[in-house]
């Protein structure tokens, strides 16, 4: 059995999601999908019924992370979580029920109060992924509390990261070369639509020139879409 310290893997490959607010218009990740809640519910319900598991916060945490993960990792600012490991733990420890008995368990009822509180704190009109993430961070029991406790990342740090458009406090390095999407595509050897797709999905961080539609990508950010190849996996 793996140690609990393994829950949060550092240095894992991951997206560079954007955030809500003005920056979210440029780097869509959180708060862009009106169907988010609906699709999350349907996915969670189908998976819970298939596995005959209780609808607990831990289970929802796993489904949430899985939905937003890339290559097995959920990454948002200072948070990187090995989602497969979370899944292993949830599937091993969750209580089993008859699907007909499935309902939001009492811990989820408490969690739902936190989600609504996050919505009110944000001043937004609709619940989005960031409300969920911040609410998960405030859960004081179960696997969720354990994960964020071991990560050592605070609710405020994540909120700050989201407010600053996913860049945290790190600006583009002065003098760093900036690429247009076309130049970035040529540099990486991919189609420009691929680059634009990465930007839309939050996989590739980009900025707009002030008051213009034009996108620019910092040279250092282009490295974020490059992932090391495992030996023997060069096909």
């Amino acid at each position: 059995m793996r140690d609990a310290d393994d829950i949060n893997a550092a240095g894992a490959p991951g997206a560079r999601p954007g955030a809500r607010g003005e920056a979210a218009d440029e780097l869509p990740f959180f708060g862009r999908d009106d169907q988010f809640l609906r699709s999350l519910q349907l996915e969670a319900a189908a998976e819970a019924d298939r596995l005959r598991l209780k609808f607990s916060v831990d289970f929802w945490f796993y489904i949430f992370l899985r939905r937003l993960s890339r290559f097995g990792y959920f990454t948002f600012g200072p948070i990187t979580i090995d989602v497969r490991l979370i899944g292993d733990i949830v599937l091993r420890t969750a209580e089993h029920i008859d699907p007909y008995e499935r309902r939001y368990e009492d811990d989820f009822v408490r969690f739902s109060v936190l989600v609504v509180d996050e919505l009110k704190r944000s001043g937004q009109a609709r619940i989005d992924e960031l409300h969920f993430l911040l609410a998960f961070m405030r859960v004081e029991e179960g696997l969720t509390a354990r994960v964020f406790g071991e990560l050592g990342v605070t609710h405020d740090q994540v909120e700050q990261f989201a407010r600053t458009g996913g860049r945290g406090n790190a600006p583009v390095t002065q003098g760093e070369r900036l690429y247009s999407p076309e130049e970035a595509a040529e540099y990486l050897g991919v189609h420009v639509q691929t680059v634009r797709g990465w930007i839309r999905s939050g996989r590739l961080r980009a900025s707009r020139l002030a008051g213009q539609r034009a996108l620019r990508i910092a040279a250092s950010d282009l490295q974020s879409v490059l992932e090391p190849v495992e030996p023997g996996d060069a096909s």
Binding site: L37, R38, L42, A45, R103, Y104, S112, V116, D117
Partner: protein, 94 residues
Amino acid sequence: MPMYAIRRHLGPISREELDAAAFRATICAAEYDGLRWERSFWNPAREEIVCYYVARSPEQIQQHSRQSNIPCDDVVEVTEVLPEVYSSATPAAR
């Protein structure tokens, strides 16, 4: 599709808990084809809320309530009566 009035005795409950119940009911509704929350009225004196839903059957309402972890004390089919219909028919009376 019929409309139902659902009486839910919630007991002493904060505004946050009430909102959270509405949130659970809303996301849970994704699983129920045809189910639509129309409106609700909170009665603080009785500590109960009456919700109006369009649904396929009372059983669908009860199942949705149970999955949402929200009480469902009574479900009755109702018919909506709107004032606009009558006021527009008698403009002189206004």
